[in-house]
């Protein structure tokens, strides 16, 4: 290790191994964390980070290896034991209950919660102490993503942890919220709480962490001091290969293809956000990037563009024609394609094969149906082309969508739309959960489409992604879309303000108007 702890390490891992059928998730993993240290755990998707932290938190029992906490043997059989020993964890997909209020959620994560009134009091005092404003009586379903994360963090802090595990904490936060979180984490570290920080955002790790351990295919492949290592060097350590940066030839802008004029629509989703007078134009060859914290109307915007929910007449136009009343298939036939965020169940039918899934959205535009009969040979060709062109790792086109890993399925659903030669394409979170190399390939494909004259809307919470490929940037904030601005030259500060990062301190976040 390049980081030499001055005293007994807080946590010591040695030879941890965990195998699942067909894959070794952790292979002889070992490293140590000193008290008060902020330690990064880096790796691609599927590198074994989650399995490792679940082992530390007592959710997974390793096949071999040992752990020490404060120099004593440590092998929690269940999370409550880990919590009792001073290990707390903030989950990547929040382990919160939307229908319950903040205090109830926090009580559920505690071993021995005090009566409700005392608990509310303590929540208030801890939240003030660490600069995480939160009202104990609000229903979690009504909170913004940043506020939900605060619930998780406060739940951990109430138990005075010695080690706090954070799994991808910033992937859903605005830049301002990230700053607030980092301030909190640094305070904690100064008080002697060690933090195990999982992320693949390298710039954040460089600014926050004292040490880093890199995992690849379940093995420790290196460690470094992030402040002294370049982001590129860390990325290549993670991937084990040299990275390609997407490049774009200067395309030409054509006529306006997709236009929304004062589009307002109440949400049909539970805890949803209503769209409020959306105004935008996307030209042929242009990429409009739409940023914003999750839950500010991204899903609703995609629904209304795809035709799943119908806009009021006279608010949505494609090539100058009012398409508000048209359904998804008619829009697809015209060349307006969409790829939603939720891969299983929205973009793809989980239990149907890749061929069948190719048929489901490919049919209107690729004419996969002849005289009312399904043209399977042609569909199979189409599915195989997607698999080959987008490097989808699968035993074949006959396997069910559910059997693919998240990243591979994402490549498939994006590839399926890209290869249909769309006139306009709307994608939501195109590289969510995809590893760095595949994400670069997807972005390149989107750039190539724009070059050929397709109008693109890329909705994403990954700001770096938007800044990398978009021509114009707009932000969604509580269902309102800001005026699009040229992406080149926008600073993170300005973007944060467009996303309304400052508003979210304690204002209400209610959707329904």
């Amino acid at each position: 290790m390049s980081f030499e702890p001055a005293q007994t390490p807080l946590l010591l891992l040695e030879g941890l191994t965990k195998a699942y059928p067909g894959v070794v998730a952790n292979d002889q993993v070992g490293f140590s964390i000193a008290p008060g240290e902020i330690h990064a755990l880096l790796g691609e998707n599927g590198a074994g980070k989650s399995t490792l932290v679940k082992t530390i938190y007592g959710l997974v029992k390793p096949d071999a290896g040992r752990m020490e906490l404060h120099g004593e043997a440590y092998m929690p059989a269940k999370p409550s034991e880990a919590r009792r020993r001073g290990v707390a964890m903030v989950f990547q997909h929040f382990s919160l209950f939307e229908a319950l209020d903040v205090a109830e959620n926090i009580a559920l994560g505690m071993e021995d919660p005090p009566p409700r009134r005392d608990l509310s009091e303590r929540i208030r005092s801890v939240s003030e102490e660490y600069g995480l404003p939160l009202d104990p009586s609000r229903r979690v379903g009504d909170l913004s993503v940043g506020e939900r994360q605060r619930v998780e963090i406060i739940r951990c802090l109430l138990q005075n942890p010695k080690l706090l595990i954070m799994d991808e904490p910033t992937s859903v936060l605005t830049p301002q919220e990230v700053d607030m979180l980092f301030t909190t984490l640094r305070t904690l570290s100064a008080e002697g709480t060690a933090i195990l920080y999982i992320s693949h955002k390298l710039d954040e790790i460089r600014s926050l962490c004292d040490a880093a351990t890199v995992l690849r295919h379940g093995k420790v492949v290196g460690d470094c001091i992030p402040r002294e290592t370049s982001a590129r060097a860390m990325a290549e350590l993670m991937v084990g290969a040299t990275l390609q940066t997407p490049a774009r030839a200067a395309g030409t802008r054509g006529e306006v293809l997709l236009e929304a004029r004062g589009l307002s629509l109440p949400s049909e989703r539970q805890f949803g956000t209503a769209l409020k007078s959306i105004q935008m134009q996307v030209r042929s060859g242009e990429i409009l990037g739409i940023g914003g914290v999750a839950g500010n109307g991204q899903d609703e915007l995609l629904d209304v563009l795809s035709g799943e929910s119908r806009a009021p007449a006279g608010t949505l136009f494609f090539e100058g024609q009012d398409i508000a009343a048209l359904g998804p298939r008619q829009r697809r036939a015209m060349g307006l394609l969409t790829a939603p965020e939720e891969r299983l169940g929205h973009a793809a039918a989980p239990d149907m094969s890749l061929v069948e899934n190719a048929m489901l959205t490919g049919d209107p535009r690729m004419s996969l149906v002849r005289n009312g009969m399904l043209d399977w040979p042609k569909t199979r060709e189409f599915a195989k082309k997607i698999i080959a062109d987008f490097d989808v790792r699968t035993p074949g086109s006959h396997v069910a969508a559910r059997a693919l890993s998240g990243g591979n399925l994402q490549k498939f659903v994006i590839g399926r739309e890209v290869l249909q030669n769309p006139r306009a394409l709307v994608v939501n979170q195109p590289t969510w959960g995809v590893d760095a190399a595949a994400a670069a390939a997807i972005r390149q494909a989107l750039l190539d489409l724009a070059e050929q004259g397709t109008a693109l809307i890329v909705i994403s919470q990954d700001l770096e992604e938007i800044l990398e490929i978009a021509d114009n940037f707009a932000a969604l904030n509580e269902g309102r879309l800001t005026e699009p601005r040229p992406a080149a030259g926008l600073s993170l500060e300005e973007i944060g303000l467009m996303m309304g990062g400052a508003h979210d301190m304690d204002t209400a976040h209610h959707a329904e108007a």
Partner: protein, 308 residues
């Protein structure tokens, strides 16, 4: 209409409501834990015959009710093992449970047709029972009626105030999250299913021991299904379920009285009125779809399989 006594009507309303109230409050707990057990009808009728048989053999209605609760709970164990350990589909398993219960109860009940069960006395509430009007309506029933009411209050308080109730609701809300926090999802659901089975059994026994009182095949006649509907239309709230049960019981008693009074309305219309009116009223009360959805357990009917 003059032939109908309001006092008698209200008094029999409480008796008529008790079976579905018992079954519904049990199912409410089951559904709050995220499990949809469509076998209520089967567990009710099994409880009806188990309770009847035990009461006849021992001569004690009290032991009869104990037997009914055990019978209903035993049947629900089949459902719990199939759905929680063998991960079978809850809807199909519940339907199978109903069919099984109906057939099984007919088999046990063959020797009990036409027998009178031992009578169950009403509680002596002393001076309370002597109050005019209020006394006969509220304070002249058998103990089960009050047990059912106490059960509604207990379930309400359990779900709202106790930690165990909070955990149960959390499991029904998101089993993944509850599992991640280290709660035993399967064990909690198993216990909830047992409770639901026991309550359905009690409801069934109330039919065969008090309300009718005798044993006939298929005597629950859809009461289990109405109990299921009450839970959904009552938006998973104990007091609304109580209201729904009283409404159903009330209309049932009223239409029987109207039939007896010779009202010039087709009997078929009168007979279907309890079902129609109850569901109509509860649908109107839960008309705000979004708010009703808020109270619905989000994990209802979903199979839980711990991946780690």
């Amino acid at each position: 209409m003059g032939a109908i006594s309001i006092e008698l009507l209200l008094a029999s309303l409480m008796v008529a409501s008790t079976p579905i109230l018992l079954a519904a409050i049990g199912e409410l707990v089951v559904e709050k834990s995220g499990v949809l057990n469509l076998g209520v009808e089967g567990m009710m009728i099994t409880g009806a015959i188990c309770g009847f048989a035990v009461a006849v053999e021992t001569g004690s209605p009290f032991l009869g009710f104990v037997g009914a609760a055990l019978g209903g709970a035993t049947l629900s164990v089949i459902f719990a093992v199939l759905t929680q350990y063998l991960l079978s589909n809850q809807v199909a398993t519940g339907l199978a449970l109903t069919l099984f219960g109906l057939g099984f109860s007919a088999l046990i009940g063959q020797g009990y047709v036409g027998i009178k069960p031992p009578a169950i006395g009403s509680v002596n509430l002393g001076i309370l029972s002597d109050i005019p009007f209020v006394g006969p309506v509220l304070f002249s029933h058998d103990v089960t009626v009050y047990v059912a009411l106490a059960l509604v209050a207990a379930v309400w308080a359990f779900l709202k105030f106790s930690r165990a109730g909070l955990i149960l609701r959390a499991v029904g809300e998101s089993h993944e999250a509850a599992h991640a926090l280290g709660y035993k999802v399967v064990r909690i659901r198993f216990l909830a299913i047992l409770f639901g089975g026991a309550c359905a059994g009690l409801g069934g026994a109330y039919l065969s021991l008090v309300r009718v009182p005798q044993w006939t095949e298929g005597m629950t006649a859809g009461a289990g299904w109405i109990a299921l509907a009450l839970v959904v239309f009552g938006a998973w709230k104990p007091w609304r379920v109580l209201l729904g049960a009283y409404l159903f019981g009330g209309v049932t008693v009223l239409q029987l009285n109207l039939q007896a009074a010779g009202l010039k309305v087709p009997v078929e219309l009168l007979s279907m009125s309890p079902y129609l009116i109850t569901i109509l009223v509860l649908v109107i009360m839960s008309a705000d779809r979004r708010r009703a959805a808020l109270n619905a357990p989000a994990a209802l009917g979903r199979v839980f399989h711990a991946s780690t």
